[in-house]
Amino acid sequence: MPGDFEAIVKYLKEKVLYSDEVVGKEKEKKQVLNLLRRTVVDGESNSMLLIGPQGAETSKLVNSVLKELEGLKDYIIVELHGLLHTDDRLALKSITFQLNLDNAVDGKVFGSFAENLAFLLACLRTGGKESSKSVIFILQAFDLFCAHHNQTLLYNLFDISQSAQTPICVLGLTCRIDVIQLLEKRVKSRFSHRQMFLYAGSEETSDLDFALDRMAWYLELPPKCPVGITSKARDAWNLNVQELLKNKKFRAVTERMIGLELSEQILKNVLLKCLYSLTNTDQLLTVNQFEKELESLEKDEMVQVLQDLSALEICLIVAMQHHSDIYDNSPMNFEMVYTRYVKFAHKHSSMQNVQRPVVMKAFEHIEAIELIAMVNQQGSAKLQKEYQFFKLLVTPQQISEAIGKMQGLPTEIVQWWNSSLI
């Protein structure tokens, strides 16, 4: 049924892209939940770092914990992101906004960051001096906050969490394992050194099984049918998925993908692409699709780029590679490459009548698509284009592959290339 099919695909895409569920990791969830509860209920200040690979697993975990926290006593969540709040000033603005204290701050001038933050937190005192609302600070891309000037924000947050002021909990999410090294000494001393590492997979299961499990989790439709999908369609789909996962070829393909890299992000991308390539005519996932994806993962982008070049540009690349071989990878400039090219062109009539300005344009194109990189020597910015030194960024293997795959390349160029590979 087409309606079913569309609904299935849509549901699965949503799941892969936007699902908020976390599988497993119960122990970790409990730990975090306890920590937050202590802050909210008991008024105890805390700080913690969650470190996990990219793919938003860590933030999903926190989100699910926060959901469970709902309904407890009054608390406020302040979310900051390292990419957005690149500056302490911006962070403060956002904090003020999220604490709904814009009116209170309006018109006031603060001497330092600390004063400002203290004022904000003091505003949260509800009624008596004793009790104030607890605040949970969630800092995503925590490692980027470490790059702020003097790490003022972090210092102040951790300071407050150590001192007996407003009860706050600082949760830092990051994907860098060495994030502790990034903290300054005074900031580190105020940090509670509580770190949680969220690894993908576990030691018991093999990588392959783990990957297959993840795929199963994403691709299988749950027992409780989502809207618009008949149970018949659902069963057919799930059957297909299970057969696929047991297929030997499929497992081999998955192994090879794991060999390359199969992080959560890449896995999701692979699944997405396969889901997107389903059309009304082939409604079921097949091994071929995954093979195609593997191929594209294995493909070398630079070879593709090289294949798109014109014959003149390939000549220049070959000339550059020859020069690097002879002169032991020392930097070269356009003049040298041009001289070499002219020598070649004189021997072969087909390339003979191309003049210097056109060769220059071909060279500029090569530079624009970044197959070469300028070497910054002193004062090179003022040097003319022809004399600026550069290095070639593609390897001989890539060039060989590209030349092999290109169609319609004059044979003399191929021979010229091969003549150097001896």
Binding site: K10, L90, E301, D308, M351, V358, G408
Partner: protein, 422 residues
């Protein structure tokens, strides 16, 4: 979709892939499209999004000299805001990514919009968080906006300090010769207009089949090829118009047009039409000598000055250094490595020694040095502010200097150490 495929022959796989992505919600959060110049990336993407009636913003990053301009442009287009010329206010003033993300939420019905960014490689020149932010927009905001990046540079060049979310990649390979032939044949209506004589498609096709092999060697860029083919079609038809040849004599027509093609390949990409043939540089008398002196100063080392320019320098003993120098490989010739800096004193010394009738040292000469710098024939190699020890470099190439030297009857080769041993 068929209309789109028809107007872009050879792009069916890419169109199909993009259609699969954007046919139904949810769209992929980030897509990266890489393809050569004029391979149809932008045209196809905007055509597709238009046909699917998806709200989208198309921004060319070359225009965005600061991130503020980028953000405001995107917001203006997504919200459909028209800038009032009297007031000049954008939809919302955005200085940072934080503001941008916040404002995105304020636009009505923004879920399911797409932001298309051309020349995406320029994103790397803006602040670091802009690129990471656009690719990972999903994590920064609840709003569902997809981002499509168009670029000629491979994605692997984008990896920098921050972790980037992997987008889905689409590759637009360059057209092969057959595809180009097919596409250029679609140009027939335009060509028909250009030629004064009655032509049919077959004639046009035979023209293209002789045109392409010549130009394909140096250039695979479709728009350039199209421009060139239009430009020369009239000349190709000329013999038929003059009734010297019939339309079927393709061999004879080819013979006529071959020299024109050969000349034309030397001016690829250079769109200049002038009634006057290219003329050289007209300089006053002393400026010519100053320029020649500058060239000699740049391309000779100062140790050779004494020998070259003074009359009584004594005999020079042949040293091993000289023998080595004679056998210097061409890559180390001064004319290949580029001009070196020289001081004003050295310039004047050489100037006086090559000038036959001596002129007193006066301010007009100094002004001429400055105006040579202004005309970019010389360039300042030292700091602009320090008047002490000013250093210059000569920007003129060998052919031009030869022409100028011939005008005053001066033999430049005699004075260049690179050639002086010949």
């Amino acid at each position: 979709m068929d209309a789109l495929s028809k107007s872009f022959p050879g792009r069916e796989p890419q169109i199909a892939q993009l259609l699969a992505y954007f046919r139904a919600a949810p769209y992929p959060p980030a897509v990266y499209i890489r393809g050569g110049p004029s391979s149809g990336k932008c045209a196809i993407v905007s055509g597709l999004l238009g046909a699917l009636r998806i709200r989208h913003a198309l921004v060319d990053l070359v225009e965005c000299y600061s991130s503020k301009v980028l953000f405001e442009l995107v917001l203006n287009q997504l919200s459909g805001h028209r800038v009032d010329p009297a007031v000049g206010a954008p939809f919302a003033a955005c200085d940072h990514l934080m503001d941008f993300v916040g404002q995105l939420g304020r636009i009505e019905d923004v879920d399911g919009s797409v932001v298309v960014l051309r020349h995406a490689e320029e994103l790397r020149k803006l602040e670091a968080n802009v690129l990471a932010g656009f690719l990972g927009l999903r994590q920064l905001t609840r709003v569902r906006v997809s981002v499509v990046l168009l670029s000629e540079v491979a994605f692997e060049k984008y990896y920098h300090k921050l972790n980037l979310s992997e987008p889905l990649k689409v590759h637009f390979p360059q057209y092969s010769m057959e595809q180009l032939l097919h596409i250029l044949q679609l140009d027939f209506p335009h060509a028909e207009q250009l030629s004064a004589v009655q032509v049919d498609r077959e004639f046009h096709r035979s023209y293209l089949s002789v045109f392409l092999p010549v130009f394909y060697r140096a250039c695979r860029d479709l728009s350039e090829l199209r421009h060139m083919s239009r430009k020369h079609f009239a000349q190709y038809c000329q013999p038929v118009l003059d009734q010297q040849l019939r339309a079927q004599d393709s061999l004879a027509l080819w013979k006529r047009i071959a020299p024109i093609f050969n000349a034309a390949t030397s001016v690829l990409y250079l769109r200049v039409s002038s009634k006057h043939p290219g003329q050289g540089l007209e300089l006053p008398f002393y400026s010519k000598y100053l320029l020649i002196a500058a060239y000699l100063a740049s391309y000779n080392s100062s140790t050779d000055d004494k020998r070259l320019f003074m009359k009584f320098h004594g005999k020079k003993r042949k040293t091993r250094h000289d023998i080595e120098r004679k056998n210097k490989p061409s890559a180390h010739l001064n004319t290949q490595i580029g001009p070196k800096a020289f001081t004003l004193d050295r310039l004047l010394a050489i100037f006086y020694s090559i000038l036959e009738d001596k002129v007193g040292f006066n301010n007009h000469l100094l002004i001429q040095v400055s105006s040579l710098v202004q005309l970019q024939l010389l360039s300042l190699a030292s700091d602009e502010c320090s008047l002490d020890e000013r250093k210059y470099k000569c920007n003129v190439n060998f052919e031009t200097i030869q022409t100028i030297a011939r005008m005053v009857g001066f033999n430049v080769r005699k004075f260049l150490t690179d050639f002086s041993h010949m």
